[in-house]
């Protein structure tokens, strides 16, 4: 005879603190932004309802289209470089002993540097007159000037982001690699698997979960990048490195257009939400497909 286990609904009360904190930190501010996005805020006590007007203005703004295009290229480049590089670093790191600890500490150091300091470091590092990188490139014959050449500015921002954030991917991948039981490697050795086969059929599938987190984190972070390029290039030369966050800040703080800035924020939020949703489901389906193929 089986006895049905009573369902204890009191556990739901334990979720209440999280709900309250999410409400105050995310939901209420988001609702306020929605309110602002349909009004012309003339003063803190005076506003006029304008409906979809700001959305129309924002969605037809060619500067926003350019900033979105630059942002998509930047995020795609960040993912294309940082994910393989992070995995490669994790694979080449010592697994145990003092060398492993030393490499972990060295690798984590860029992550400990505040974002505005990262921008300042690279601003000095890349200057042709006093910076090591800029000086060396100039001496090697490259016509390098990140303050005047859009391509140089782009590459510098990209390299700076790779330096700052690839360690995060490497640390996540390293943790994932350490969690793979030794029995898998022993089985692969018995089968005479090559180094590539071990990576392709043992390590990569086992890394799927941590890589999914790494991809989502890097996508969201790169899509919201603001401080480093702001300090390094100020969005220039011209608007060459003006990404979405910088453009939003120009509108909200520089021009104090709260209505259009709120509409822009919501469009921005929806773009990130869609990209993360598509990427998450794509990676999940790739993993599920591989599992099906292996069990077939």
């Amino acid at each position: 005879m089986s006895v049905a286990k009573p369902v204890n609904q009191r556990a739901w009360w334990l979720v209440l603190p999280v709900l309250v904190s999410v409400a105050f930190s995310a939901l209420i501010p988001l609702m306020t932004v929605v309110n602002y996005s349909v009004q012309d805020i003339l003063s803190p006590s005076q506003s006029v309802f304008v409906g979809w007007e700001w959305y129309k203005e924002v969605l037809r703004d060619p500067e926003l289209h350019s900033a979105l295009f630059r942002q998509l290229i930047f995020s795609a480049a960040v993912l294309a470089i940082q994910i393989p590089l992070g995995i490669a670093l994790a694979l080449s790191m010592p697994k145990e002993g003092w060398r492993s600890s030393l490499v972990l500490v060295l690798l984590a150091m860029p992550l400990l540097v505040p974002w505005n300091v990262v921008g300042t470091i690279w601003q000095i590092f890349a200057r042709a007159d006093i910076g090591l990188l800029g000086y060396v490139l100039t001496q090697l014959g490259f016509d390098y000037n990140y303050a005047q050449e859009p391509w140089d500015a782009w590459i510098t921002v990209l390299v700076m982001d790779v330096w700052h954030w690839t360690p995060l991917v490497a640390l996540l991948a390293f943790a994932g690699l350490r969690a793979i039981p030794e029995a898998y490697y022993q089985a692969a050795r018995i089968d005479g698997a090559s180094r590539w086969a071990v990576f392709r059929y043992v390590q990569l599938p086992k890394l799927r979960s941590v890589l999914m987190i790494a991809v989502l984190l890097r996508l969201m972070d790169s899509f919201m990048i603001y401080t480093e390029p702001f300090v390094l290039t100020g969005g220039g030369p011209g608007t060459a490195t003006t990404f979405l966050s910088q453009y939003l800040t120009q509108k909200a703080v520089g021009q104090f257009d709260l209505g259009p800035a709120a509409a822009f924020s919501l469009v921005y939020f929806l773009i990130i939400l869609l990209l993360c949703f598509v990427l998450y489901n794509f990676m999940k389906s790739v993993g599920a497909g591989e599992q099906q193929a292996r069990s077939a």
Partner: protein
Amino acid sequence: MDLLSWMAWTAPVAIFFVCIALMLIGMTIWELRSPTVPRKGLLPLVTTRGDRLFIGLLLAAYINLAWTGVTDLTQWWGAMLGAVGLVCVMRWG
């Protein structure tokens, strides 16, 4: 209401949020009475009822944004198209 005046509430936005809240309450009651069964419909992924609501709302938001960005016609048509999209995703997604 002075406490909430900083949020700059307007009637249309309040109605919008009330609709969302009612939708979530309705979904919770529906889930308690008849727990969802994950299924694969027209969408290329297995979804629960909650997933389909999320996808449907996201679709409706994008339809409305596209309508605003592309046409000068009244937004009500965009809203109706978004609602139809939401219903289609919930039913056949």
